[in-house]
């Protein structure tokens, strides 16, 4: 077997398998609908002053945003279906990025808001 044919034999089935593991069109439409509903809900609660004034406003928005983020990464970027190496390549730096944001917010005094709430 030549290099080229050996390569084709090794890669073509792998690529077909890769394509088979991706979700179908019906999943994509459902994901888009969920993303739209969450976005509408986020904007809706933004216009409710009584809810904005509660301590639940920011946690709810952050949770909804995290859900949207995870849905896109898992279903549209296929991280749910693809190799674990891709997951590691994304989750590793992403975790460091989140920790960096939290660390910098502590370092520059943004955490003072939280301590005042606890008092």
């Amino acid at each position: 077997m030549s290099d080229a044919s050996a390569h084709a034999a090794a890669t073509t089935p792998a690529h077909d398998e890769h394509a088979e593991h991706h979700p179908g069109w019906s999943t994509y439409w459902k994901v888009a609908l969920i993303l739209t509903v969450i976005t509408v809900f986020e904007v809706w609660i933004y216009y409710i002053p009584s809810f904005v004034a509660t301590p639940y406003f920011i946690p709810v928005l952050l949770t909804l945003s995290a859900i949207k983020f995870a849905i896109v990464v898992l279903f549209y970027m296929h991280l749910k279906y693809d190799s674990k190496l891709y997951r590691a390549l994304f989750v590793g730096p992403f975790s460091i990025a989140i920790l960096a944001i939290i660390g910098l917010l502590f370092l520059f005094g943004k955490v003072a808001i939280r301590t005042s709430l606890l008092q």
């Binding site: 290099d3 050996a6 394509a19 904007v43 928005l61 549209y76 190496l85 730096p93 960096a100 910098l104």
Partner: protein
Amino acid sequence: MATSTLGAPVADVGHGYTSTGLPNRKVGIWAFIGSECMLFASLISTYLIYKGRSLVGPFPHEAWTDPSTGHVFKPILNIPVTSFSTFVLLMSSLAMVLALAAVENAEVPKKTTGDRILGNSKLWLFMTALLGSTFLSCQAYEFTSFVHEGLTIKTNLFGSSFFTLTGFHGAHVTAGVLWLLTLLAIDFKRGLGPKDALNVDIAALYWHFVDVVWIAIFTLVYLIK
């Protein structure tokens, strides 16, 4: 034939595949996306740290009266326009996955009109680029209106961090639109098929990453007061 550390057959690691059996370009785009996480984390951190520390307005969510002129500046962020552009970008991600699915299934026979529409990669690549351009148009409108209302990158800390963060994101969207138009041109020239699925997949990963960054920016910058 050699086998990879993950057990997949590997014919030749020098021809586009790593020793893990995974395509090196896809491993590369994921590593790039990981590094982009760090870039946007630094920009988002900067925005959050400077938030509420501007000495002069205009401010994002509060009205401000200029003491020297008495001019009243209303809250500057336009949530309806940004909500629309967020929806547009989310829908562009849907169009992108449909474009990838169409390329992957290009050789599957299309029996119904619905199959032909869903399997039309040119249509979905064009829709993705169009929606991306619409998002950029909304951003251009937003930036222009901010400058007209007195907020530039030099006005205050909010202006500096806001324009830097959203400007970097807009530059990424612009690069993505150009990438999509390139793929569309190739599709028109010779057609995209399963053998091109990896190229489209890599562009799609970049596009979705730009989308998820905006999901974070929309919440942290626009919705959280």
